[in-house]
């Protein structure tokens, strides 16, 4: 008579186990470190792109040198950060764009970093040393946000942010959505195009609204941008220099320009997550990612533009890579604390005043 109970309980336990397993879906091989003879485990949260390169050139050498097993959690910025904020992860080191890193910092999710332990820090460009303040992690890559366009399809030339407003480009422009990494940069650029030297929010949104009829679609993923060029839906738009290679495969006529008002710095950072049991190891990992060796390999593989000044590349190796102090030192950097404070209201204004 008790059997149904037992069966029921077993089914529930089983279901709970399965679900618990699903919850951990993001982390591959999460039990590997614990049991194998005291070998330590470092959980790294990252995007998961160029994974072949990372596992061979970044993770494997580090695992060997420190006798540690690196476990990955992959996903986009927002998903991974929200997982960390909800406390349902055991991540030690997290790769995030500077904007999401700022959100994490303001939520108190990261450890203060011990800069004395990062010997490669001095070799970084100034802009990369402390993008979110001295207490937090450095940038390991600095990319350039400029404009990619197809002159033939555009029917005009583009050399500045202001040129995106040209009447010839009506119905041919794609802009980043306000909530993507480069969205706030376009608010800043629009303020400049509107002629104000100090950032002026009202002028910026009025200017962006003026551009709206030219815009085919506000993209939130690079794949959408590339696809719009393949399909002939768009002929110009702001994008990171690193994607030029992929873009040229879609449309060989595409060229990249650094706008005359100045390109923007796309900054990706590394931080140690609060409560990490491997803080020192995590800092060693960050230091390794900043080393000339890793940075040079990543640049040559066209995976990441370097943040390390000592990286040297041939002209061919530097194609589509944001490289050289003359380029990097001219990049404009947004104050992420300011962006973070305003993004909610900017999104609202963007929705109402620009895309209406």
């Amino acid at each position: 008579m008790k059997k149904p109970w037992i069966k029921g309980l077993m089914t529930c336990t089983l279901a709970a186990l399965v679900l618990a397993g699903c919850g951990n879906g993001g982390s591959e091989d999460s039990s590997a470190g614990g049991s194998s003879g005291g070998q330590k485990k470092l959980v790294v949260s990252t995007w998961g792109f160029a994974e072949d390169f990372y596992s061979k050139e970044v993770y494997a050498p580090f695992e060997k040198e420190h006798n540690v097993k690196i476990v990955l959690e992959t996903g986009n910025n927002a998903d991974r950060l929200s997982k960390i904020l909800q406390g349902s992860s055991d991540v030690d080191v997290v790769y995030l764009s500077d904007y999401y890193a700022q959100q994490g910092i303001e939520a108190g999710a990261f450890e203060k970093i011990d800069r004395s332990r990062l010997s490669n820090l001095d070799a970084l460009y100034d802009i990369a040393k402390a993008p979110n303040g001295e207490d937090y992690g450095p940038a390991y890559t600095i990319g350039q946000l400029g404009i990619a366009y197809d002159q033939k399809a555009a029917g005009t030339t583009v050399s500045s942010w202001a040129d995106l407003w040209k009447p010839e480009l009506k119905g041919k422009v794609t802009m980043p959505s306000i909530t993507s990494t480069s969205g706030p940069m376009m608010v800043d650029a629009a303020s400049k195009v509107a002629g104000s030297t100090e950032f002026n929010e009202d002028k910026a949104f009025a200017k962006l609204a003026e551009l709206n009829p030219s815009v085919v679609k506000y993209y939130s993923q690079t794949s959408e941008f590339i696809n719009m060029f393949t399909q002939g839906e768009a002929a110009a738009g702001p994008i990171m220099q690193m994607y030029l290679g992929d873009l040229k495969k879609a449309d060989p006529n595409v060229e990249f320009v650094t706008p005359s008002e100045g390109a923007y710095a796309i900054i990706n950072t590394l931080n140690v997550v609060k409560g990490s049991k491997n803080k020192e190891l995590a800092e060693d990992f960050i230091n390794w990612q900043l080393s000339q060796e890793v940075q040079e390999k990543a640049a040559k593989a066209k995976v990441d533009s370097p943040a390390n000044r000592n990286v040297s590349l041939s002209a061919e190796e530097a194609a589509a890579v944001t490289y050289g102090s003359s380029v990097v030192e001219k990049l404009q950097k947004l104050d992420m604390a300011f962006v973070n404070k305003n993004l909610k209201s900017w999104t609202d204004r963007f929705n109402r005043e620009v895309t209406k």
Partner: protein, 273 residues
């Protein structure tokens, strides 16, 4: 086993539903009703006073209704045809019809991009035939969303309709004809009323699916947005879970209202159904 213990068989299922559906639902709805510790409907008033949100809601409803109507229009004749086929042929054809459901919506949407884009198949054919001179803008418009959604949800309405149409006794049609009804009248007076239950179930599935679809509108839609992509923006990129929960609740209520209205309409159409 005594009969009164039989209900215990339901326990695992009920427990599962309670834990993973009912509790989260209450939490979701509950979180929208409190602001600074006091009970309020304020967040909903804000949404319904907001012309931007109403505009998105309007687009969403329009797209969902258009998708549902198109699915019925395309699906009904096909389902009727399928229900007349011998079993073996029907099985094969039905499997083919369900095929779109087996591919991921991302892949499907990308295929539509290739077909609908300015350099795409449709525009190329029309230009080569000399029907149009400049490519049409189809991709990144609500039209593209509707096309993608019809492709996605047509199988749902087909499956439900085929089931219902099969069970209609064709002697009824023959009887009507022998009593002097034309083929069309017999179809109108017998087949359509008897298929209403399937039509309702199918329409609800398609409508609710279109209302809540995210991937297809996000990829094929342009500047016009739908509620699901707006919800995503609030939840994931702005971390405003309360607003996202409120939007989810609004979507849920709309779904209930639509199901209610459809059932009422069905009762009118076919009082005995």
């Amino acid at each position: 086993m005594k009969k009164r213990y039989l209900y215990l068989l339901l326990a695992p299922g009920l427990l599962f539903l309670a834990l993973f559906m009912i509790v989260p639902l209450i939490l979701t709805v509950g979180s929208t009703l409190f602001k600074d510790g006091s009970f309020t409907f304020g967040i909903y008033w804000q949404f319904f006073k907001d012309s931007y949100f109403l505009d998105i809601l309007g687009t969403t409803l329009l797209v969902s209704v258009a998708t549902t109507l198109l699915c019925i229009l395309i699906g009904f004749p096909v389902a009727y045809y399928l229900s007349m086929m011998p079993p073996r042929k029907k099985g094969i054809l039905l499997a083919l019809a369900i095929f779109p459901l087996l591919t991921s919506s991302v892949v499907r949407s990308f295929s539509w991009m290739i077909i609908l884009g300015k350099n795409g198949l449709v525009n190329n054919i029309l230009i080569k035939l000399g029907i149009i001179h400049d490519p049409l803008s189809i991709l990144y418009t609500p039209t593209a969303m509707i096309i993608g959604l019809v492709h996605l949800f047509l199988p749902l309405i087909l499956i439900t309709l085929v089931g219902v149409l099969e069970s209609i006794d064709h002697d009824l049609v023959r009887a009507a004809q022998s009593l002097g009804a034309s083929k069309l009248t017999a179809f109108r007076k017998i087949v359509i009323p008897l298929s209403i239950p399937g039509l309702i179930v199918g329409s609800i599935l398609v409508f609710v699916g279109s209302l809540t679809a995210y991937t297809t509108p996000a990829l094929l839609g342009g500047k016009k947005r739908v509620v699901a992509t707006f919800l995503y923006q609030n939840a994931i990129t702005l971390n405003d879970w309360q607003a996202a929960s409120a939007i989810a609740t609004i979507m849920m209520i709309i779904t209930f209202i639509v199901i209610g209205l459809m059932n009422k309409a069905a009762a009118k159409f076919n009082p005995k159904g």
